[in-house]
């Protein structure tokens, strides 16, 4: 049967194309030897994971798959059993997570600090201030734009705590000078720079951020800007599918000498982003 394009030709072409693709893209499938870590956008955006995870995989052969969402969502996902380990930065929520039985035990891992960044023109005149709540108060009074993550993340919760201490409820101004982006740290910083707005960010993400424009660090060093990260194994008693052994291996490595050293080694432009502070295990 003559004709432009026979049935068999089409089939052959399709199979060839699919086979080529299938072979060309080997998806890493080391069978079941991986864990899922629910973590935050700040740790991902800073590039920390890309630096330390390969070291862990090289040592143990366990692949680590990171799902980066906000702290709130990470904890909720883990509650549903969609992860083996959580690594987030909101201590009260982490402790509640364990107290409610969703997590086994909380280990401190590392800390860095939050900073307030803003445009070089500094319309609210907060550069160099030492008290974060006071700086926020000045921003509110000057009604200069401020970009908030507003996504239930650790950073967001920390930010709300500072507003509370400043005696300001920024939500009433949502949409005017208080911009609730509902996004991750990087996306929020993009918006902040784009709109010349102040923002609260963790130092790690800020150092790694490639779109700073003319922005500078405005406020830093306040104790209240201390940002502690904790790691928790999801409770296998509640979710039998959790890979408890491998998850715990990750936690042990992370809080052990090798992991802590790897964290300390991670630098951008010579600056260290995260400071290991896991207590020695008992």
């Amino acid at each position: 049967m003559a004709g432009a394009f026979g049935r068999r030709d089409v089939l052959k072409l399709a199979l060839a194309a699919y086979a080529t693709l299938a072979l060309a893209v080997p998806v890493s499938r080391a069978a079941d030897n991986f864990i899922i870590v629910q973590s935050t956008t700040s740790t991902q955006n800073s590039g920390l994971f890309e630096h330390i995870l390969p070291l862990f995989t090289k040592k143990t052969g366990i692949e680590v798959r990171v799902v980066a969402v906000g702290t709130g969502q990470a904890l909720k996902n883990a509650q549903k059993g969609d992860g083996d380990v959580v690594l987030v930065h909101s201590q009260p929520d982490e402790e509640k997570f364990v107290a409610d039985g969703w997590g086994v035990k909380r280990y401190p891992v590392m800390y860095n600090d939050f900073i307030i960044v803003g445009p070089a023109t500094d319309p609210a005149k907060i550069a160099g201030m030492k008290q974060a709540p006071e700086a926020l108060k000045k921003i509110a009074e000057a009604q200069t734009p401020f970009a908030s993550r507003a996504d239930d993340s650790g950073t967001h919760k920390a930010e709300l705590k500072l507003w509370h201490e400043a005696g300001v409820d920024p939500k009433t101004s949502s949409g005017s000078w208080y911009l609730e982006t509902g996004s991750g740290m990087g996306a929020t910083l993009n918006i902040a720079v784009g709109k010349q707005a102040y923002a609260l960010t963790d130092r790690g993400t800020w150092l790694a951020f490639a779109n700073k424009g003319d922005f500078k660090v405005m406020v830093e060093g306040d104790n209240k800007l201390f940002n502690q990260y904790g790691v928790i194994l999801v409770n296998p008693a509640k979710h039998p599918n959790v890979k408890a052994k491998q998850g715990q291996a990750f936690i042990d490595w992370l809080t052990g000498p090798e992991g802590q050293a790897a964290i300390a080694n991670y630098k951008i432009d010579g600056q260290q982003l995260f400071f290991p502070n896991a207590r020695p295990q008992s």
Binding site: V25, V193, F209, A210
Partner: protein, 235 residues
């Protein structure tokens, strides 16, 4: 911020040197979408053909539903699949969440209504012309479906390409069910979202350009097929 022209230059460099990270991301995108489109095509052709040919109660309701699902927002499709595949969900035992397979499932849900609705329309149009002759020749309803599908092949190819275009460009579904995990479920669209949020405009642009290039190729293929079709009076 990196000037736009500098970013373009950096992006072109990444493409020219076949940056392995880039290749991996593109490969995964194509694999997920092509697989999803292949599955959706099989389902969609059958569904559309049957809907056009067979008479059964509720037929117009199903057709209306398909038309409506053509506009299903990708995030909604992603959300539905996520709830199903989550460990707390009914299909959690399959352990498919955060895998390329989950992304394929979500994209199948997105693409199938498009292929099915367009197939139904094509078959109905053809049936207008063929119905009496095929009945006279003694074709059963099943034979009519396969005859229409083959006869309408050029128009059906455009339906498949439409589905492909939708899937390769969406980010909502694959982001939610895939988790944008490095080396595992990171596709072109989720990578663009991530790199943009990190301020890595160059890589994001490179991926964006490739996405555009793919869309362009798809459209050129479409035009080529249409021209071929009319050449042989097949259109």
């Amino acid at each position: 911020m990196l000037g736009l022209s500098e970013a373009f230059r950096a992006a072109l460099w990444q493409i020219a040197t076949l940056d392995p990270q880039l290749i991996e991301i593109i490969g995964l995108s194509l694999k997920v979408t092509l697989t999803a489109v292949a599955i959706a095509t099989l389902i969609g052709f059958a569904l559309g053909g049957v809907l056009a040919v067979y008479r059964f109660p509720g037929r117009s309701a199903v057709a209306a539903l398909l038309n409506a699902l053509m506009g299903l927002p990708p995030v909604v499709a992603g959300l539905i699949v996520y709830l199903l595949l989550s460990n707390a969900g009914p299909l959690g035992v399959l352990k498919l969440l955060y895998t390329p397979e989950a992304m394929i499932i979500a994209q199948v849900i997105l693409v199938t209504p498009i292929v099915a609705a367009l197939t139904r329309q094509t078959c109905e149009d053809l049936l207008e012309e063929y119905r009496d002759q095929l009945r006279s020749l003694g074709a059963s309803s099943a034979e009519v479906v396969t005859t229409l599908l083959w006869d309408g092949r050029y128009r059906l190819i455009t339906a498949v390409l439409a589905g492909f275009g939708r899937a390769i460009a969406e980010v909502g579904a694959v982001m939610i069910v895939g988790g944008n995990i490095d080396h595992v479920t990171r596709t072109m669209t989720t990578a663009i979202a991530l790199e943009t949020s990190k301020g890595n405009i160059a890589l994001a642009l490179a991926l964006g350009m490739i996405l555009l290039a793919i869309a362009l190729i798809v459209n050129v293929a479409l035009m080529g097929i249409k021209r071929l079709a009319s050449q042989f009076a097949y259109a």
